[in-house]
Symmetry: C2
Subunit: 226 residues, 2 copies
């Protein structure tokens, strides 16, 4: 991954045009990426230097072996991600597009495989678990408000635990201490003391005191205003 993300975009654009059976032109690439032709010419120069494509003045734009392989990898990631976001996570097409565009440059093959495995597993879960699928659809239709880390809640406030963003030891510790989704927390206060501050609050009628590490792993839904 030592190509810039942008260079990968140009490669991908060329491949996509080729896939329609045509030979890529500067104008088409420009339209595809939403830039001017001048910009494309400049980019082609860079691409050519890297030996990812061949291009003579006023000539055809042709991917090299190497360029084609790189383009395919990017294209595959892009398509896969976009599909994943739309079908599995229920993103809008447009949003999925934008997110895939930036993400496609950041995931490696291993990651892509994991993602694919996840999608497959989910597809299997869908068959033969209609109940769960219905719940998921429902959830996607009526999203809740967004949570906030405990350490950022205003003094005196509270809310229900949304999630714990921690792993391993810390996660386990918080879980066994009763920090689980839906538990209610009230009367949050922040004090100086430890570096980062100390936080006290009430949960299950018990007064609890934690540090910044814990307080930034516990996310709360703010109580609705209704």
């Amino acid at each position: 991954m030592d190509l810039t993300a942008r260079v990968e975009d140009y490669l991908e654009a060329v491949l996509e045009i080729e896939m329609t059976g045509e030979i890529a032109t500067v104008t088409q690439i420009a339209a595809n990426l939403g830039v001017t032709k001048a910009t494309v010419t400049a980019a082609l120069k860079r691409l050519k230097q890297e030996k990812l494509l061949e291009h003579e003045r006023y000539g055809d734009v042709l991917l090299t072996e190497d360029g084609r392989a790189k383009a395919l990898a990017v294209y595959r990631r892009h398509e896969f991600l976009s599909d994943f976001f739309v079908r599995i996570l229920g993103f809008s097409r447009e949003r999925a597009q934008r997110v895939s565009c930036v993400m496609e440059h950041e995931i490696d093959e291993q990651t892509e495989r994991r993602l694919a495995a996840f999608t497959d597993a989910l597809a299997h879960a869908e068959r033969g678990n209609e109940e769960w699928l219905r719940k998921l659809q429902e959830a996607l239709e009526s999203p809740k408000a967004l949570p906030m880390p405990l350490c950022m809640m205003p003094d005196g406030s509270g809310g229900a635990i949304a999630r714990i963003t921690a792993q391993y030891e810390l996660r386990k510790r918080l879980n066994s201490a009763g920090f689980v989704p839906d538990a209610l927390i009230t009367d949050i206060r922040k004090f100086d003391g430890a570096p980062g501050g100390l936080f006290t609050f009430t949960m299950n009628a018990i007064q609890i005191r934690i540090g910044i590490t814990e307080a930034s792993a516990i996310w709360l839904y703010q109580p609705s205003i209704a």
Copy 2:
């Protein structure tokens, strides 16, 4: 979203430092983002122009009301995404970090909500569906090779259908035509004719012919070399 992604990163870095109870310094920000102090000074100038923070020569770095709100939004997205990638999708911590870093600038609140809903639904599915969870874990442990769109397979080749990356009409059409995961396709050939070409192949002992649109929505696992 008219701030550049980078500007959002600086904002986030300041907030993260503040969360430890300290006041952000140029050196700390630089270390956080892996850039030099000179770069930070330059960035602070831009941030100040946008009225997202206050900063006098050699003075403290303080977020404005506006800046803090923006920083919190970015921070929340970042943490949530990172957690999602690690816990739900099984990414490595490092990879999750990189992906969240680019993605956090591309998702809006609506999208974040959907993602959260998905996570919640999955959490519910996990309780009370141990079987499925086990399968998912297993799948994440042993990822398969990566598929490729039919239109890019070499002449004469074939493979099993991995997935259909299409929606609505096209998806339905392909499904009812028998294009479902695991179906076997052999002897793929490409011909000129329609714009983008025509593709013929054999599936279930039947010869089929499709265009580029369909051929790029059908993804195949290449048969393993063994």
